[in-house]
Symmetry: C2
Subunit: 684 residues, 2 copies
C-alpha cells in the first residue's frame, strides 16, 4: 500500500464519528472521510477498483460513478446527490461532449459533503470483466500489463535543472505513487521533444508499473494489444482495446509457410534440406504477423504505434520458428524444445514493427509436442479450476490432449497425422469453399446427400448448384460415421463388399471396395485406404486420451472439449460414433473454437493470467506417448469403430449403433505395426 | 549463502576435533573438514575468494594454490604437502602444458589429508587487485559483471525430454548453485547447436549471476571488455581481460564528429541547422567505437565476439549523441539533460556490433555540464573517500570542477571556452606534432627557446630541425607565464610596450603589442588578443573552483588533480603561476591523465564500483555557476595574473613572482562584461 493510502486508511480506522460515511458498490468497501475529499481519493484510499488515466484532472472521464439514493436508508445511510459538491465546470464540459453520461459524476471532481453510497459501474473499473460468447466459458478479467498515466512534469530551469527522466519519474511518484525502474533508449530519444511538445504535460505508457515504454504529449488514452495464434495452416489475430478489453478487429490469413510444406514435418524437412531454410520460414511468419497487425489496425482505425503489447500462441514448431530458433530438433526423438518457458521480448527482436516499446509475450510450451497453443487452450478452458474431469483435444497434425480437473492436469500429444485435415485422403482437401463438410447416407438406399462449404443448400435440395472439389476433415468424419451407421462399414473399418449388390455406389478397386460419394468431375470417392488413414488418426487420438485416463486412474470423463478449427467444424456426435473420443454425455461434448487464440487473448488482457498459466504449465504432468508401452495396445484397440472393447454407454443411449461386424481380424494390427515405425519420424 | 555453503559452514561450526584444520591465507578464514574434501570445496564453504571456471574439473587451472609449510607450526598447525592427496593426472597434465606452476596444486584436485595452510596467490583470486601506474592512485579491485561457468548438461532423452534451457539452468543450479533468470533470443537461437557441438558440455557467459549472455561449446575461458572515453577531440579505448583485469590493447582516434564542428557548440549548431544532423553525429561516433573495438581486438588477438561488456564515459553532449539522444537542449539554458542516470543497454541498441549478448554500461552524468566523463574522473580519483580536500579540474571547452573529501563533494562546470585547446589563439593549434608545447624566456634578453611536439631537442639545442606549425594549449600557458615572469606581461595581462625597446620580439600591432615567439613561415606570435582569450579561460576556471570553495566554506585545498589530456601536458607550476588554479602545495598538484577513461575502466572491471559511483553521483551537490551572482565577481578578480587578491603563499614560496604592475584598470572588467553575455549561449 502506498504511503498515501496508509495515511488515508489510518483515518478510516479512526472512524471520526462526525465525518461522512462513504460506501462503494459493488465492492462494499467503506470508510469515513473528511468533507471536501474527492470521491476518487476516497476510492483510492479504500483500494476500490476505480479507473483513472488523467489522475483526477477531469480529463479522462474514466472515473464516472453513480450515487445510490435512498436504497441504503435502511442501513442508516441517507445517500443523496445533494451530499456531493455541485456539478463542476469539467463535468458540464464532459457531459456536453457526451463523455460523461447523464446521472453520473466524475469522482475526481465531486467531493464528499455527506453520507454516500457510490456505485462504480463496470466500465469505470480497471479490472472489469470481459464477457465471452460461449455459455460455459468464464469471463476474462481485465488486468492489462500496460497502463496509461497522465502526468504534469516540472519544466527544467536554471535553478532546478534536473534531467528530464528524473523529473518525469518524480511526477510519476508524486502524482501516481509509482516507482519507475527503467526507460529504454527509444524512450530517452523522444523524451525531450515530447515533453516540450506537450508543455510538460504528457501521458506515459507504463508496463508492469515500472518500465516506461512510450510517452505522448498531453493527454492520450489509446492503448491496444494484439493476440495471435500461429497455426500450421492459418494465423489468427485479434486486436484488442487494452482498456476496455474489447476486440476491435480480427483478421486471419493462411500461414505463408505453407509454400514450404503443407504439414509441419515437411516444413522441418525443408529446413533440414535447405541451408537458411529456417530463416525463410521465420521471415514468412513474421511478415504475416506484420501484415495482420497492419490489417487489424487499419480496420479498427488504430494507429499501429498504439499497439503496445502482443501475445503469441502456437505449436512448438511455430513457436520456435517465430522466435528464430531452429526447429529441426523437434523433428526427431527426443523432440527436445530449446525452451518451454514463457518468453518475453521486444517486438523488434522478432522483426515485428509496431511501437519501438512494444513487448511480446510468447506463451510457454508444455512439452515437445504440446506447445504454446496447448498452453493457450489450457488458459482458455481452465481445466485446472474445474470440478469436472475434463478432456480437451486440439486436433491438428498432432493431437494435443489435456486431461484434468482442479486437482491434477495431464498432457500428451498423439501423432494423428494429417488425415483429419484432409491430407492423405484420396479426395481430401482443406476446409475451404467447395469442400464437402456434411454427409448423410440413407440407410435403406445407401444414397448420400451432402453439404458443401460456401453453399447453403444440401445436395438434394433445390438451388444446390455447386460442384464439390473434395472432402474436408469434418466431411470425412461424417461420411465414415454414416457409412458405419448404414452398415456399409464393418466394426474393423472395412467397406463391406456384400453391400455392392444393393447400390452402384460401392465399387471394387483392386482387392478392396470404395464408396462413391459424388460422381462428376472430379468424382469423389471414399476408398478403403482413406478409411485406414482415418482409423490410424482416430486410433492415435483415442489411445492418447485413454493413456491419460489410465494415468489419472479413471474410466470416464465428465466433459470433453474439442478445440481448434477442426474441433469447431465437426459434429461432436459423429466424432464419438467414429470413436475419436471416449464416451461422454453428448450434452457435455462441446467445441471451444480457436481456444489457443482465446488463450492468447486472455494472456493479452490479463497479466495475472500469465503468471497463473506459467505456474499451471510447470505443474502439468507430461506424458510421452512414445515411451508408454500401453499406448500401442490402446492404439490397436481404438482402430475399431467406435472401439474394440470400450462400451460407450452414453453414445449407445443416444444413437442406435449397428451390431458389431468384423471383416478381417488382423488388418488393424498390421497397420498398427506400420504405424509404429512411422511415428518415430513424425512431429506434426 | 548457498544451501551447500550453509551445510558446510555448519560442519565448520561443529569443529569435530579429529578433522583436519584448514587455514586459508591471505583471508585468514579457517575451518575443519572431513579428510578427502577437495581444497576448493573447503574454500567455497568458507567463502574464500578462489577462482574457478571449470567448476572443479581440473580444466581451467584457475584454482591454483600453494601449501604453506612449517611456518604455522607455532600456531599448532603442522601444514605440509604430505597432508594433501597425491598429485593427480590432471595436475601432471596441466604442469606439463605450463598452466600449473611448479610448487602449486589445483585446489579442485588436491584433497585434504591433514592440517593445512593454503595460500591463494593473487592470480587465483576472482577479486584480485589491478595495480595502477600512479603512485597516489588506489588499485582497482576486480569484480567483473560477467563470469564464465563451465557446465555439463544432461542430454535430453525420451524419458527426460525437458527443454534445453531448463536443463542448462538445472546444471547451473546443481553445479554452481546459480539461479538464472533469463536468456535472450540470440542465446536461445544458438542453444541447441552449441549444446550438441560440445557434447552437452558448455561454457556459459553469465551476467550478474542471472542473465545468460552467451554460450560456447565445451570449456572456454576468454572474456573481454572495452572501456571507452569519448572526448570531443579524441576517443580512447582500452580492451581489458575481464578475468585478469589487464589492459590487453589500447587505441585512440580522433573523434570523427570533428568534421561537423571543432568544438561542442559548433556540433550542436550543426545539429540545429541540419535536419538529421544528430543522426550523422551519432553514426560518426558509433562507427568510431566499432573501429576501435576491431582495432584493439586485432592488436590483442581477441575475437570481438568475446567482448561481452563495454563501458562508456563522455561529456553530456557525447553521452547524448552516442545514445542517439538529441543534444540541442544542452546548448541552451537551462541545459537540461534527458537523463543523468547510468544507462545500461544492449550494444546493438547503439549499433555497436560485437557479441549479440554484449551489454553497454554508460556512466551517469552529474549535471548538465558535468557529464559521464566527470563521473569517470570521480570514480578514478575517488575524492569521496579522501581525507584531503581535493580539487579536481578536467579542462576542456568546459572545465568540469569537482571539490570534496569523504564528507562532501561539490561539482560545477565553468565555461572556459576553447582557448586552452588552442582555438581562438592566433597561432593556436591542437596538441599534435609541430606544435610548440614548452617555452622558456630569458628574463635578461627576453629571447625565447621552445620545444616542439615530435622533436626531442629544444629550439636552442644542436639537432633541433623542425619548423613549428603553431602553439598548443600547454605552450600558450607556458609562454604567457614566462612572459609574466620576464616582466613582459603586466599583472592585468597587458604586453608592456615599454619593453619593446629591449627586444625586437615585442612589436606593435594597431594599439597593442605582440610577442614574436618564432620568426619564420609561419611566424608564431603571441598577440594581446591571445592573452585576453587565455585570461578569460583561466578566469572562468579559477572562478568556478573558487565558487565551490565558497560553498564548501574553505579558503585553501589540500590537493589539486588536473585531469584530461590538457591536464597531463601542462606543467602544473605554470598553471598556478598563471592563476588557473588556486594556491596549493606544488607537490600535491598532480596530473591524473585520462581519468575519465580510467573511470570507465574501473566501471568495466568492477561491478560494485558502478553502484558506488551511482550513489556518489546522486549525492554530489551540483552548483550552477550561471545562477551564482558571486561567480561574476570571482571571474573578474581572476582575470589578473595570477590573481587580483588571492595571496598564493605556496606559489610565492616556490617561485619568485614579479611585483604587481598594472597597465589598464578597466579592461578586464570590460571583457568580463562581454564574457557574461557570451556565456549564455555556450555549452562546450
Amino acid at each position: 500500500m502506498s504511503p498515501k493510502r496508509v495515511r488515508a486508511a489510518a483515518r478510516v480506522g479512526a472512524a471520526v464519528a462526525e465525518e461522512p460515511l462513504v460506501v462503494f458498490t459493488p465492492s462494499g468497501r467503506r470508510g469515513r472521510f473528511r468533507r471536501g475529499t474527492p470521491v476518487l481519493q476516497a476510492a483510492r484510499a479504500l483500494g476500490v477498483d476505480l479507473d483513472s488515466v488523467c489522475g483526477g484532472r477531469g480529463i479522462c472521464t474514466r472515473c464516472q460513478v453513480t450515487i445510490g439514493e435512498g436504497e441504503f436508508a435502511k442501513h442508516g445511510i441517507a445517500s443523496s446527490d445533494s451530499h456531493l459538491t455541485p456539478f463542476t465546470e469539467p463535468e458540464y464540459r464532459q457531459q456536453e461532449s457526451g463523455q460523461l453520461k447523464r446521472g453520473r459524476r466524475l469522482s475526481c471532481q465531486a467531493r464528499i459533503g455527506g453520507d454516500l453510497v457510490v456505485d462504480v459501474p463496470p466500465e469505470s473499473q480497471v479490472h472489469k470483466q470481459v464477457v465471452r460468447k460461449r455459455a460455459e466459458a468464464r469471463a476474462i478479467e481485465l488486468h492489462p500489463v500496460v497502463h496509461l498515466h497522465y502526468v504534469e512534469v516540472t519544466p527544467p530551469d536554471m535553478h532546478e535543472p534536473a534531467a528530464h527522466l528524473r523529473r518525469l519519474k518524480q511526477a510519476l511518484k508524486e502524482q501516481w505513487d509509482l516507482d519507475v525502474e527503467s526507460a529504454d533508449i527509444p524512450l530517452l530519444q523522444k523524451l525531450n521533444k515530447t515533453l516540450e511538445d506537450g508543455g510538460y504535460k504528457a501521458t506515459v505508457f507504463l508496463r508492469e508499473g515500472k518500465r516506461i515504454l512510450d510517452i505522448r504529449p498531453g493527454f492520450y488514452d489509446k492503448l491496444f494489444g494484439m493476440a495471435v495464434d500461429i497455426g500450421s495452416t492459418t494465423i489468427a489475430a485479434h486486436l484488442c482495446d487494452l482498456q476496455s478489453g474489447e476486440v476491435v478487429a480480427s483478421a486471419g490469413c493462411m500461414n505463408p509457410q505453407i509454400r514450404f510444406g503443407e504439414d509441419l514435418m515437411s516444413r522441418v524437412s525443408y529446413v533440414m534440406m535447405n541451408p537458411g531454410g529456417d530463416r525463410e520460414l521465420t521471415l514468412a511468419v513474421r511478415e504475416a504477423l506484420n501484415g495482420l497487425a497492419q490489417e487489424t489496425a487499419k480496420e479498427a482505425g488504430v494507429d499501429p504505434l498504439d499497439i503496445m503489447e502482443v501475445t503469441i500462441a502456437g505449436n512448438p514448431i511455430m513457436h520456435h520458428l517465430v522466435l528464430g530458433i531452429d526447429p529441426t530438433p523437434l523433428g526427431f526423438a527426443p523432440f527436445a524444445l530449446t525452451t518451454d518457458e514463457a518468453t518475453e521480448l521486444w517486438a523488434t527482436e522478432i522483426e515485428l514493427y509496431l511501437n519501438p516499446g512494444t513487448r511480446v509475450y510468447v506463451l510457454p510450451c508444455i512439452a515437445g509436442h504440446v506447445g504454446a497453443d496447448a498452453a493457450g487452450v489450457v488458459l482458455s478452458e481452465m481445466p485446472y479450476r474445474s470440478d469436472e474431469m475434463t478432456l480437451i483435444v486440439d486436433v491438428g497434425t498432432n493431437a494435443e490432449i489435456i486431461l484434468g480437473d482442479k486437482h491434477r492436469v495431464l498432457a500428451a500429444s498423439s501423432p494423428t497425422g494429417p488425415a483429419f485435415e484432409g491430407a492423405q485422403i484420396s479426395s481430401g482437401q482443406r476446409a475451404a469453399p467447395g469442400a464437402i463438410e456434411r454427409v448423410r447416407i440413407d440407410p435403406e438406399t445407401l444414397e448420400p446427400r451432402f453439404k458443401v462449404i460456401g453453399e447453403a443448400a444440401w445436395s438434394n435440395e433445390p438451388g444446390f448448384a455447386v460442384v464439390p472439389t473434395g472432402i474436408c476433415g469434418s466431411g470425412i468424419i461424417e461420411v465414415l460415421a454414416e457409412m458405419y451407421l448404414a452398415g456399409i462399414l464393418t466394426t474393423d473399418g472395412v467397406i463391406d463388399g456384400s453391400a455392392a449388390g444393393r447400390t452402384p455406389r460401392i465399387v471394387q478397386q483392386d482387392r478392396t471396395f470404395a464408396y462413391v460419394l459424388y460422381e462428376g468431375s472430379p468424382t469423389i470417392t471414399v476408398t478403403q485406404n482413406d478409411i485406414r488413414q482415418i482409423q490410424l488418426a482416430k486410433g492415435a487420438l483415442y489411445a492418447g486420451a485413454r493413456l491419460l485416463m489410465d494415468h489419472m486412474g479413471i474410466d470416464a470423463v465428465d466433459r470433453i472439449t474439442l478445440a481448434g478449427a477442426f474441433g469447431s467444424n465437426i459434429d461432436t456426435k459423429y466424432a464419438m460414433i467414429l470413436g475419436m473420443i471416449p464416451d461422454c454425455d453428448l450434452a457435455k461434448v462441446t467445441s471451444a473454437g480457436n481456444a489457443a487464440g482465446t488463450g492468447a487473448r486472455i494472456a493479452l488482457l490479463n497479466e495475472k493470467a500469465r503468471r497463473e498459466l506459467e505456474g499451471v504449465v510447470r505443474d502439468i504432468e507430461k506424458i510421452e506417448t512414445a515411451v508408454e508401452p500401453k499406448f500401442q495396445d490402446h492404439f490397436v484397440e481404438a482402430m475399431a469403430i467406435p472401439h474394440k472393447t470400450a462400451p460407450y454407454p452414453h453414445l449407445k443411449a443416444a444413437v442406435a449403433l449397428p451390431e458389431p461386424k468384423f471383416a478381417e481380424a488382423d488388418d488393424a494390427g498390421g497397420n498398427g505395426g506400420r504405424r509404429r515405425r512411422r511415428r518415430e519420424r513424425r512431429t506434426g
